[in-house]
């Protein structure tokens, strides 16, 4: 016999204290997770510390670098000869590979009373006392210079045939090296009579010929000011962008999370500015306009007029006249039917398409702030960069394409007006001239805080290749 029963009671009676034993595999899984937790904790904590330590180390080394650069002396050494006395007083030992006038040396700093090796390609070395030094590659032999240009001295220490040059006790004679003592102003010059004459320092094959007198004369008039490194550069930036999500999901509606998607052409253009803050470090910023486009396929869309004051969160897509667009994957009739069951569809509502494409076009003004570290600094330069961008929403459109025509549906309400991205990249530069260079910079940008809800599971990122023409100042 049938009787009527309250549905709540019916379910409650049967299911309220419903129990069922899970199989043993569940406890085993729990146990192994508990074990893992025990082990992972110390490592996890270590990672945190390592991260903080790495950050501190990075900041510290940047600081040190900057400090070093400010206090460094003689990165670039220029010889300033004195007319009467080429005896040099430094305590640097110098090994030469070749002779090039005025080239920059990779010298290390001298400290008082120690002898440091300078690996230098220069034969002109500046000391703070404006002494003049000539260095050649060859055997370190002495050579007597003309009285005007050298001072002979008698206390030579080595066993080699060094004549007329004095060395102080602290100095060492090393093959192919020249030693100077900052007290004594002496210089050693290779012997080889065939190479040298009293006034010339002719050199071995492969080296350059230098005439001291000429050098002396030239150097006197040389400009003392070291060339200023150009610190600022400004350039154009254009980048095609590949825009996608790290995880499966939809930027528009969680119902579409499993839909197939296709990439549209995304790009950015703008101006970038780079400023050197040390020998190897620089910061980069700029202003770009970024257009990101993304299409979801197989979408069914229904326009829906919400009852006043309600239904604000049925959909993320709002049309121009404040109607909402309900989106579901197409080829799923029950979804459409269930929409019709769940909402009050009347004549003002209509089905826009049963199977169309939905494209989201978003554009931002991007202001990046990136730190760059120089790995190679020659005609072709390579830098790594890392930093953040602030993204300000500029345009937000949803376009529906139902294979007959496409029309602007409205905008997405879940896109945040301000969001950010974490950037990582490499910059390859090619100098066209001292002032102009072009660059190619592939980068990865992971977007943060892009959407006001993360229901759709869409984690957007950009991979772009930035190209530009840049000018140095």
């Amino acid at each position: 016999m049938n009787h009527k029963k309250n549905i709540d009671d019916l379910f409650r009676e049967h299911l309220k204290d419903f129990e069922r034993k899970p199989d043993d595999a569940v406890w085993q899984a729990i146990e192994s997770r508990l074990e893992k937790k025990k082990k992972h904790r110390p490592i996890f904590v270590w990672y945190k510390f390592a991260g903080v330590a790495a950050l501190l180390l990075l900041l510290f080394s940047v600081g040190i670098n900057m400090y070093k650069n400010n206090n460094s002396t003689l990165k670039e050494i220029v010889v300033k000869p004195t007319k009467n006395n080429i005896n040099l007083k430094t305590d640097k030992t110098i090994t030469l590979n070749s002779l090039e006038k005025n080239t920059v040396s990779n010298s290390e700093e001298q400290t008082n009373n120690t002898t440091k090796k300078l690996k230098t390609k220069s034969e002109l070395i500046n000391t703070q006392q404006n002494q003049f030094v000539v260095i050649t590659k060859n055997d370190v032999n002495k050579h007597s210079l003309n009285q005007n240009t050298a001072k002979a001295s008698n206390d030579i220490q080595s066993n080699n045939n060094y004549d007329n040059f004095a060395l102080n006790n602290n100095q060492k004679i090393i093959e192919n090296e020249i030693v100077f003592n900052s007290e004594k102003k002496e210089v050693k010059i290779p012997k080889k009579e065939d190479l040298f004459s009293t006034n010339n320092l002719a050199l071995k094959e492969g080296s350059k010929k230098i005439n001291i007198e000429t050098l002396l004369n030239e150097e006197e008039n040389a400009d003392e000011k070291p060339t200023k490194t150009k610190k600022l550069s400004i350039g154009s930036a254009f980048s095609p962008i590949y825009y996608a999500s790290l995880s499966k999901g939809s930027s528009v509606d969680e119902n579409l999370a499993n839909n197939a998607t296709s990439n549209e052409f995304s790009s950015s253009y703008g101006v970038k500015v780079e400023y050197k803050i040390g020998e190897k470090w620089s910061i980069q910023t700029g202003v770009y306009n970024v257009d990101l486009n993304y299409t979801t396929n197989n979408v069914a869309a229904t326009l829906f007029e919400p009852v006043a004051g309600t239904l604000s969160d049925i959909s993320n897509v709002k049309s121009a006249n404040n109607k909402l667009v309900i989106l579901t994957p197409s080829n799923n009739n029950t979804s459409l039917a269930s929409i019709q069951n769940n909402v009050n569809l009347d004549d003002s509502n209509k089905i826009l398409t049963a199977n169309g494409k939905l494209t989201q076009n978003v554009s931002y003004i991007e202001i990046p702030l990136e730190l760059k570290y120089t790995i190679i600094d020659k005609k072709v330069g390579v830098q790594v960069l890392s930093g953040f961008s602030t993204l300000l929403l500029n345009k937000n459109e949803i376009v529906l394409d139902n294979s007959i025509n496409s029309f602007l549906l409205g905008e997405a309400t879940n896109v945040n007006k301000t969001s950010f991205s974490a950037n990582l990249g490499v910059d390859i530069k090619y100098d066209i001239s001292k002032k102009i260079y072009i660059n190619l910079s592939p980068s990865f940008k992971y977007q943060i805080n892009t959407f006001s809800d993360t229901d759709g599971g869409f984690k957007p990122y950009q991979i772009g290749i930035n190209t530009g023409l840049n000018f140095r100042f």
């Binding site: 029963k5 549905i7 049967h14 309220k16 419903f18 899970p22 969160d313 229901d455």
Partner: protein
């Protein structure tokens, strides 16, 4: 509150991370908590995942249990919350209609309705209705509490409950007319 000494001891040992005590607590309560997970999950696989997650959370937070109030109630609350976690982030359809039938009745046979059948009906409800129905009818939370737990309005809770009832009834009536499903579980969702 009277609590068997054994349980008190087990809880204390769990706080210290004693694996045996944890295993004993699991053996004692997993049946009830699995039942809860089944009711709130979409399928068996999800129910097992939710059960695991619940116990991990329980053992994690057991230090916060202050020996006040029912331990079982505390466990159930954690389990329900774990099941609701994923769901809470999704948006709920905020429909409020004017006519909300307060009482929904169905015709039932005198013969026993299979528990599995009722469970199936619950499982096949759309998530948003299932959550509210379970919380209100089976776990007896108030609409206010449900609204807080699910991040929705009280009105939404009420209307979702109403729709759940209506849906359940229409399914049962359909089944009674066309299939003799009330006597057996239509879909063996759980094994």
């Amino acid at each position: 509150m009277y609590r068997p000494i054994q349980l008190k001891k087990q809880i204390l040992q769990c706080k210290q991370g004693n694996r045996n005590a944890q295993s004993e607590i699991y053996q004692q309560f997993s049946g009830k908590l699995y039942g809860i997970c089944i009711k709130y999950s979409n399928n068996a696989h999800e129910a097992k995942d939710n059960l695991q997650d619940s116990f991990i959370t329980i053992f994690d937070k057991i230090n916060q249990f202050k020996n006040k109030g029912s331990f079982e109630g505390w466990l159930k609350r954690i389990t329900v919350n774990t099941c609701l976690q994923k769901f809470r982030k999704k948006r709920m359809l905020n429909i409020v209609t004017d006519e909300i039938p307060e009482i929904v009745e169905v015709e039932v046979n005198n013969e026993e309705i299979s528990l599995n059948y009722l469970l199936d009906l619950i499982t096949t409800l759309p998530e948003r209705y299932r959550m509210v129905f379970n919380l209100y009818v089976l776990d007896e939370y108030s609409h206010k509490e449900i609204a807080a737990m699910l991040n929705i309005s009280v009105g939404t809770s009420k209307s979702n409950l109403s729709r759940a009832r209506v849906l359940l009834r229409s399914k049962m009536e359909y089944d009674q007319k066309f299939n003799k499903k009330t006597q057996e579980a239509a879909i063996e969702t759980f094994y």
